[in-house]
Symmetry: C2
Subunit: 489 residues, 2 copies
Amino acid sequence: MADSTPEAGSLAGGAEGHRRLAELIPVALRAFADGTAERGGPAPAGGPATVAASLAAADAPLLPREGVGATRALEGLSRLLAAGSVDPAETWCAAHLHCPPLAVAVAADVVASAVNPSMDSWDQAPAASEIEREFAGGIAALCYPGAAAPDAVVTTGGTESNMLGLLLAREREPGVVPVCGRNAHHSVARAAWLLGLPAPVVVDCAGDRLLPGALDTALAGLPGPAVVVATAGTTNTGEIDPLPAVAEVCRARGARLHVDAAYGGMALCSPALRHLLDGLDRADSIALDMHKFGWQPISAGLFVAREAADLSALTVRAEYLNADDDTEAGLPDLLGRSIRTSRRPDAFRMAVTLRALGTDGMGALVAHCRDTAAAVAAAIGEHPALRLWGAPTLSTVLFRPVAADHLDAGAGDELVAGVRRALLEAGTAVIGRATLPPRAGGPERLWLKLTLLHPSATPADYAPLLDVVAAAVPVREAGVRAGQSTVGS
Amino acid sequence: MADSTPEAGSLAGGAEGHRRLAELIPVALRAFADGTAERGGPAPAGGPATVAASLAAADAPLLPREGVGATRALEGLSRLLAAGSVDPAETWCAAHLHCPPLAVAVAADVVASAVNPSMDSWDQAPAASEIEREFAGGIAALCYPGAAAPDAVVTTGGTESNMLGLLLAREREPGVVPVCGRNAHHSVARAAWLLGLPAPVVVDCAGDRLLPGALDTALAGLPGPAVVVATAGTTNTGEIDPLPAVAEVCRARGARLHVDAAYGGMALCSPALRHLLDGLDRADSIALDMHKFGWQPISAGLFVAREAADLSALTVRAEYLNADDDTEAGLPDLLGRSIRTSRRPDAFRMAVTLRALGTDGMGALVAHCRDTAAAVAAAIGEHPALRLWGAPTLSTVLFRPVAADHLDAGAGDELVAGVRRALLEAGTAVIGRATLPPRAGGPERLWLKLTLLHPSATPADYAPLLDVVAAAVPVREAGVRAGQSTVGS
């Protein structure tokens, strides 16, 4: 079939690139709109088999020998992607730290992709380097307002940032042992494995927060140097470790401190919430993610160091990218700002977004999510069929059907897991899960989780969802809950 | 200033997202066009100080407290980025393995960014998972046509893929020692450092190709297991190691083989060029980059394993992403397909591109670049003021001014480096550099490098550039070359 839009081999850049993009992007947007309408909710109905069948039914081989042209490829696959996606712009898509991106960030990324700066040398990214440098400096100052020479680098996300936290510690002190709370993200243990460090020493928590006394005991028992990873916004609950007390223990024990603030860090933009992060600036390094609060498309990670000099561990020389004589002649050396080599300018869309919103505007979106979570938690607290884990600190709300508490532990957890899967499979709602003790203490149980990152959702959006969850509990267990005898199954 | 376009906090997704993108993307494209016109060539003139001054003069703080709105932020920064970028869509921007992206790939990425699938769990990426799975399977079959169960995963680029090659070797055989040619990419040594492995044993090359005899000697001298990294398309010259001979040495010595085909791998799509990669399918794993040949915006890396089972080294479990009971209930487990956690669906735009072009169309673009390089090399060979390093295998052409050969080694190299920097600083051309012996043997010298990745450039585009390079040689050295006495300075 002939293709009236630009040839598949047409370029996005150069003097004519904007015209080709102005022809092709509307094709993609129409298909995106059609696919979204076809889906008609937060998730495709039918689960994995149905989604796989849609792709198969489309009969659209991804690596044909002969191509179908840019228009047909964009139309078909964009529609399939949209129809078969969970969409975090739908309020009931609330399982994960998976945000709905802002349109301004997506628009900015088009220019970044078309010009395609690669951040590993100045002669691939002149202006992008300057923008990244200024943006990183601004983020570093936000995290470390009192520090003399903080610095930040761009990463693929919290996982890479946490790895850098351990890597810098390893390079300063060979033999360093990672120590983290039981609430830490799995990437801490994975980074230790990747870097050839010992598995982290895991410290107990209460209410999903690291216990400073337990940390002190753990550090006292170590023969050598340690790097502590604390969390400001856990994945399970959004709780924030007691940072001032943790920092004090680290200081007293001579341990390095990295804080995984991938979730909570952007609360620094909110004058109303900033206090939650008191003590953050006592960390040696910090992980931030603007693809959580920050509303960027993935990826938009940042790694912030209190001392810019610590980043010298990443220094590497490659003649084709940063020859000594080029560096001496004034070409900035960018290679040592990442463990990657080719690297897209994700700082550009982060910078455009923050310039559009301002830090106050960004902080207001964070505060909105937190307020919504508080109201949803209050509604759960008053719901006769639901039990609340505890009041949220950030925007994560955990709860479970009361019916599950009337079963034995295993059956109750199965009920909770089944409700989550049933809503997902029906395409009704995308809800998360977490196994942990209630905040007030007690045995571990499986909870349902709402991670509220929609920047304009309201508590009223979630009231019907709570009823849907309650109604999803099978009749048999609901009967047990009400103390009735079981009638039928 | 009031902003008539969508509010800065408007979302890209949901039922209305496409409308907001249809308003904001044209704003970005106009600014991109204006900035490109302002630049008017392959690079901004004036070097780092001028680019930094442009950003400062724009007086556009990137983290203001109060935002300026989506339109103003997009307009100002998109124009600055375009005006201050080197643009690989300009034929004289030819320093690096830094491709001009195809418009179809950039358009596809808009949909990926708007829907924002995160590839770490099925409930964040239902259709994107299926598309990635099918695409990865197609790539794996392209690389390993005869293998029973090959598999591929998506990475940020060759650097991460090479790291995975060493990581999988480390997990199979603790104590493994990396071995690579002197021609290997710097990321091999960096990966060894990151992973806590010994520094690579470096094997001699001739003509920028690994010497199988030297490899055999190196492997014979190792007490324990080894992983060999060969290169199919070196960064300096585009040469391809003798893969069948290398594979045979590895087999005989029981060493694992990883091939860094980040540059050359997509030549598999070209029936005319595929023979260059004979022996590639004897490797245990392969690095590919579709942000080189492949014409994707960064990043578009792939790591291909002959045995899917080898990828089990990446297995990780995190209850919130891949709980055992969810996996048992049929939710695909995607977390173990990357060392990242949150991960954007870069496979989507790669798949749309290959569906648009077909593998034959993609192969034709690769062959076009190679043909252009051969013709440019021939022109250099006939140019009285330039000396050719050797005939290109892929699309890299190395040469130096004859005048540099008439100086002592240090002064000659300074001349070459100075020509490159002068053209870059003037915004005239972006040319690469490499230090190595001539292909035919001899002492190491600094060469100029053209890495030709423009899929529609012709040899005629580069003829004037060769004259510009020759003319850029300072008069004094040109005089020396011509055997004249030096007059003035």
